[in-house]
């Protein structure tokens, strides 16, 4: 049996973190405070210094003034300089930081207590130097200067830094631990954001118990949503298919109507119903593509779409190369181009299709001279079933799926659709297809 060291709940884990950081903080603090004195003032040095100056002071007091200079000179070493003067070291200010050192020295050599020992920290150009002076029995002063008696950092700054180290360590530990614990929540948030954009992901159940429950609930909810959408889509598609038979009956019956005007009206209505049904079924067929991408002459495809519209009496022109091969799903992409050109001839009096190609991208511009789309509605037309203001419509048919279907088809080919209003009026729908995603067998571009 594996022993579980990690508590399962988030509360337990946070408590564990707090306890852990508390323990670590406490132990580090103890270590640091115990060490501060040892580290900041080198105790050994301080003792030796006090012994040294006590001995020298006694020698000086026992000698006549004439020989004192020589003694002082003899007693000096490279790191410990001594001098004999009539005055104490000026300025006579005492450094608080050295109070502790002063106490230590006096404790070690009690005879220093009556000699007015003064300590000073640093001198220009030597921050770690401790200098001092003490009064001899005849009122003259012994000066001394010791190098490296304290650590390199000024005592206070060093103390603060050392004291804050546990804090920094605690923050880092808490940060890392909490991030690890909260990671599943972040993943869940990402997954939830993606819901409805096609790719449904089942998240692994991980992390604290509460998170695992949440993730399981999310996974269940997601599969419920997917199933629900699938069921409804299938039902709708089935109805759509079934509608085709009565529609076929209607169409054949319409042909038997003798009144030509009535027949045209009825034919028009049947056509419109058929178009709506087609776009609905296309949209709901969704992303399961039975069609395989293949090499297609896109320039000819676009030309043919334009030719078809010309044959149906619309004013639309094509300009661009005669040939340009690309790999894509022919039927799907043709529908995208058709939807955009159909919109163009419906909303405008004249439509123009421009085809440009360079090394990296193919651009297909479908432009019309119609009313365009108000900037505020630019995003709305990309959403399924959104139709713009009825006042703007002119003999339009369909259920508002033309552009969404085009967007999806173009995205499937690795491209994107950019809608914009032309400065001279009308809409410009631009299809941008990257070329490098396709095989390099690019054909004849004239």
């Amino acid at each position: 049996m594996r022993v579980k060291l990690v508590p399962p709940g988030a509360v337990g884990r946070v408590l564990a973190v707090v306890a852990l950081t508390g323990v670590i903080g406490l132990s580090l603090n103890t270590l640091v405070y115990e060490g501060t004195s040892r580290f900041s003032i080198r105790e050994e040095e301080a003792r030796r210094t006090s012994e040294h100056i006590v001995v020298v002071a006694r020698m000086l007091e026992g000698e006549e003034p004439g020989r004192r200079a020589r003694i002082v000179e003899y007693a000096s070493t490279q790191h410990f300089k001594l001098g004999w003067f009539q005055q104490p070291i000026s300025p006579g200010e005492r450094s608080d930081a050295l109070t502790q050192m002063h106490r230590q020295m006096v404790v070690w050599e009690p005879s220093l207590a009556g000699k007015d020992l003064r300590l000073h920290l640093g001198s220009p150009g030597a921050a770690t130097e401790v200098s001092g002076s003490l009064q001899l029995s005849d009122g003259t002063w012994l000066h001394f200067r010791a190098q490296d008696l304290v650590g390199k950092w000024p005592l206070k700054l060093r103390g603060i830094l050392i004291a804050s180290l546990p804090m920094i360590a605690l923050v880092i530990i808490a940060l890392v631990t909490l991030r690890v614990i909260l990671r599943p929540l972040g993943l869940l948030a990402e997954a939830v954001t993606r819901v409805g954009y096609g790719d449904s992901t089942i998240l692994p159940e991980q992390g604290p118990a509460e998170f695992r429950h949440l993730i399981r609930a999310y996974n269940d909810m997601q599969s419920r949503i997917v199933t629900m959408i699938k069921d409804r889509t299938e039902a709708l598609a089935a109805v759509g298919h079934d509608l085709r038979t009565p529609l076929a009956r209607l169409r054949l019956s319409v042909d038997c109507v003798d009144d030509a005007e009535m027949r045209d009206t009825l034919t028009h209505d049947v056509n419109e119903m058929e178009l709506m049904l087609d776009s609905l079924l296309t949209y709901f067929r969704g992303d399961d593509h039975p069609e395989k991408p293949s090499l297609v002459d896109v320039a000819v495809l676009v030309t043919t779409v334009v030719d078809d519209l010309q044959d149906r009496g619309f004013n639309i022109t094509y300009s661009g190369p005669e040939h340009c091969d690309a790999t894509l799903r022919l039927v799907e992409f043709k529908r995208a181009v058709s939807n955009l050109t159909n919109n163009a001839v419906q909303y405008g009096n004249h439509a123009a299709v421009r085809f440009t190609v360079d090394d990296s991208v193919i651009r297909i511009f479908v432009e019309d001279d119609g009313p365009g789309i108000p900037e505020a509605d630019m995003q709305r037309v990309l959403i399924p079933f959104q139709r713009l203001d009825p006042a703007r419509q002119r003999n339009t048919s369909g259920v508002g799926l033309g552009i969404p279907i085009a967007v999806r088809a173009i995205a499937a080919a690795g491209g994107k659709l950019i809608l914009s209003n032309r400065p001279q009026g009308g809409l410009c729908a631009q299809i941008v297809l990257p070329r490098q995603t396709w095989p390099a067998r690019l054909g004849n571009t004239l």
Partner: protein, 236 residues
């Protein structure tokens, strides 16, 4: 000349009657069946020149029936289906159906397709029966049944219906000058209902779409007479 006999296999009674009436009004002798079993009964009583077969039938579906018919007969078959998926169309045509009409369809389209299929058949049986499904000319490949065209680089070339019919006429008579009248006659199915473009416009479009790498299309104008496909057409 007796009227061509057509058997309509469709389970929806209303639609079946309407199809039958449309065919009768256009001079066809029509027989009706609502299931596969009825179809076989009718075929035993008398052979027909063409079968219109609904894909979605109760019991045995149209695709299975088509397969069974093909094992014993070469009779032309036109599928009628409520599905418009490209795969359905392809499966139907690969099983040996001669055409595929998606629902809903109008009388004119129905009659045009039926006539086109009937017209295609006798010519083919004259030339050893096998229909030239795939033909090549000057590096271009054409699948007559699926109505698809491929460039020398292997890319699909989309043509309008009328343009394809015109190309099919050229392929049917390679290296022969075809007058405008003759081309209109050969392609009249499409030209009649979907396009009032003149042959000249269609030919110029076809030429543009069948050009490649700086080479012009293998269709030349014979001044004052008509047009000619200059390339050799190979089958298979």
């Amino acid at each position: 000349m007796t009227a061509p006999a057509v058997l309509v296999v469709e389970d929806d009674p209303g639609l079946r009657v309407l199809i039958a009436r449309a065919l009768q009004q256009n001079g066809f002798a029509v027989f009706q069946a609502s299931t596969g079993a009825e179809m076989w009964n009718s075929l035993e009583q008398r052979p027909v020149d063409l079968i219109i077969l609904d894909v979605m039938l109760p019991g045995k579906n149209g695709i299975d029936l088509c397969r069974e018919i093909r094992t014993r007969s070469d009779v032309p078959i036109i599928f009628v289906s409520a599905k418009v998926d490209e795969t359905d169309r392809v499966i139907g045509l690969e099983l040996g159906a001669d055409d595929y009409i998606p629902k809903p369809f109008g009388t004119r389209e129905l009659i045009a397709r039926v006539r086109a299929v009937l017209r295609r058949r006798p010519v083919e049986s004259g030339s050893n029966g096998a229909s030239p499904e795939r033909v090549q000319f000057a590096g271009w490949a054409v699948d007559m049944r699926r109505r698809s065209v491929f460039s020398p680089s292997g890319a699909s070339i989309e043509l309008t219906g009328a343009e394809f019919d015109l190309l099919a006429s050229f392929i049917g008579s390679p290296q022969r000058v075809l007058g405008r009248e003759r081309l209109i006659e050969l392609s009249r199915v499409r030209l009649g209902d979907s396009s009032d473009r003149s042959i000249d416009v269609l030919v110029s479009r076809l030429r543009r779409k069948l050009s490649s790498a700086g080479q012009s299309a293998p269709i030349v104008t014979v001044r004052g007479v008509g047009y000619m496909l200059t390339a050799d057409v190979t089958h298979g």
